[in-house]
Symmetry: none
DNA sequence: CCACGCCTCCTCCCAAAGGCATAGTGGTGC
DNA sequence: GCACCACTATGCCTTTGGGAGGAGGCGTGG
C-alpha cells in the first residue's frame, strides 16, 4: 500500500488535524480531503471517485444522525465509509454497520487502533471495535424500522432523503432529473416498505431513527 | 508568558494529542500533564498545585457531567478550569460557568480559538464562545422556530401535535370532534405561522425542535 | 359597548398525493 | 437463455391537502 486517498468528514478541526497526522504515517503518498460539513463531504465524494475511504463523523452539522451515512451509501456505494463517533455504545455501532458502514472507530481510540481500523477496511474487511459484537437488546420498534430501511434501494433512499426535507414530488423529480410519475412510483414503494400510508408518516418514522441516534 | 503548566483531562488520546500540539506553541516552556480519566485529573491537580490551568472534558469516564467540575472547584479553588466539550449549547455553557469554570471551549473550535481562550483565561479573564460574553444565544434557527411555535393558539397546538403523528385532516377532525373544514383552517393557519407550505414541512420543523431537546 | 382574537364552519377551486395496472430497459445471477 | 430486480415511465382514478374568502358565536379587555 503506497498511495492513499482518504476523505475526512468531521466538524472538529482539531480532531481532523490529529486524524490527518495519524493517517499520513500509513503510506508514502497520502492525499487527504478534509470536510467540515456534510455537504462538503458529498461534494468531495463526487469529485474524488477514486478515494479509498471516507472517515465520517456521525455528528456532522448539516445532517442528523445516520441519514448522512445512508445518503452516502446510496450515492457512492463503492466508497467504503468508516464511522468516527464519540458515542460508541453497541447500538450505535451496530446500526452504523447495518446501514452499510465498513467500520466504526470510537473517538476514544488511540492512534494504533485507528491505523489498524483503516488498514482493515482498506483490505476489504469490516472493522468492529473489540468490546462489541454482542447483540445487546434494543428497542424493537427501532430495529423494525431499521430493517425496513435496509430494504430500500439506493434511489429510494435518495427519494426518502428528499421527502425528509419536505420537498414535493415535483421538486424531487426535478432534482433527480426524472419524471414526477417515477417519483410517485418510488414514493409508493417507500411507503409500502416502511409500512406507512403517507409521506408525512414516512418522515416521522425516519425522524424517530434520528432521535434515537442522538439520544 | 514564558513558562506554562497545564493539565489536560480528556479521554480521547487523539484529541489530547492535538491539544498538546496546539498548546506547545504558546510559550517557550510548556509542561503538560495528560489525564485519561477523572481520578487521574484529581491526582494531577493535587500533585501540581503550581499548574496554571486545567482543560477538562465534560464527558470524562468516571464522572458524570458537571459533578467533576464541582469537585475540582471545591478542592482546588485556585486552579482555573476551562471546560472542553463537544456539546456547546448555551445551557451547557452557562451551567459550566455558573459552576465556576473559567472558560468554555467547544470541541469544534479551531486552533486559534483554543489558543485565544487559553490566553484569555491565563490573563485572569473568563472566556465564553460566541464573543458576546455570557449572552450567547441558542441556535438562531431553533430560536426562530420556537418563536413561531409560541404564536400558536392552544387548538392549533393540538392540531400540530396530531400532524406530527401523521394523522389525516379527517382523523384529526374526528379526534377533536369538529369538522374537517375547521381542521383545514387550523392547518392553514399553522402553515402560515410556521412559514412552511406543507404539513410535511411543518412536521420536519417540529422534529428539529425535538432533536434539539434530546441532544 | 365594541374591538379583537379564537374557534367554528362553509363553498369553490385547484394542486398534490397516492393506488393500480402496465411496460420497456439494463444489469445480475443461475 | 431465462428469471429477477431496479429504474424508468405512462395513464387513470380517487382522496387528500391547501388557498381564498366569508361568516357567526363567544369571551376578554379597553
Amino acid at each position: 500500500m503506497q498511495t492513499l486517498k482518504i476523505i475526512i468528514a468531521d466538524d472538529h478541526p482539531l480532531f481532523r488535524g490529529a486524524l490527518v497526522q495519524t493517517l499520513q504515517t500509513m503510506a508514502t503518498d497520502v492525499a487527504i480531503i478534509e470536510c467540515g460539513e456534510f455537504s462538503a463531504a458529498l461534494k468531495a465524494a463526487d469529485e474524488h471517485p477514486d478515494a479509498d475511504l471516507m472517515l465520517l463523523d456521525l455528528a456532522m452539522p448539516g445532517v442528523s444522525g445516520f441519514s448522512g451515512l445512508m445518503t452516502l451509501r446510496a450515492q457512492f456505494a463503492a466508497l467504503p465509509v468508516v464511522i468516527v463517533s464519540a458515542t460508541d455504545d453497541s447500538g450505535t455501532v451496530r446500526r452504523s454497520l447495518e446501514l452499510g458502514a465498513s467500520g466504526f472507530i470510537p473517538k476514544s481510540s488511540g492512534l494504533d487502533d485507528i491505523r489498524n481500523a483503516v488498514k482493515t477496511v482498506l483490505d476489504g474487511d469490516v472493522f468492529v471495535p473489540g468490546n462489541d459484537s454482542g447483540k445487546a437488546e434494543d428497542d424493537p420498534v427501532l430495529v423494525e424500522i431499521l430493517d425496513r430501511l435496509k430494504t430500500l434501494t439506493p434511489q429510494q433512499n435518495r427519494v426518502l432523503t428528499m421527502l425528509a426535507e419536505g420537498l414535493l414530488n415535483k421538486q424531487i423529480a426535478y432534482e433527480l432529473g426524472v419524471s414526477e410519475a417515477t417519483i410517485k412510483a418510488h414514493v409508493s414503494a417507500i411507503l409500502l416498505k416502511l409500512n406507512v400510508d403517507s409521506r408525512t408518516q414516512a418522515v416521522i418514522k425516519l425522524g424517530k431513527i434520528n432521535m434515537a441516534m442522538v439520544a
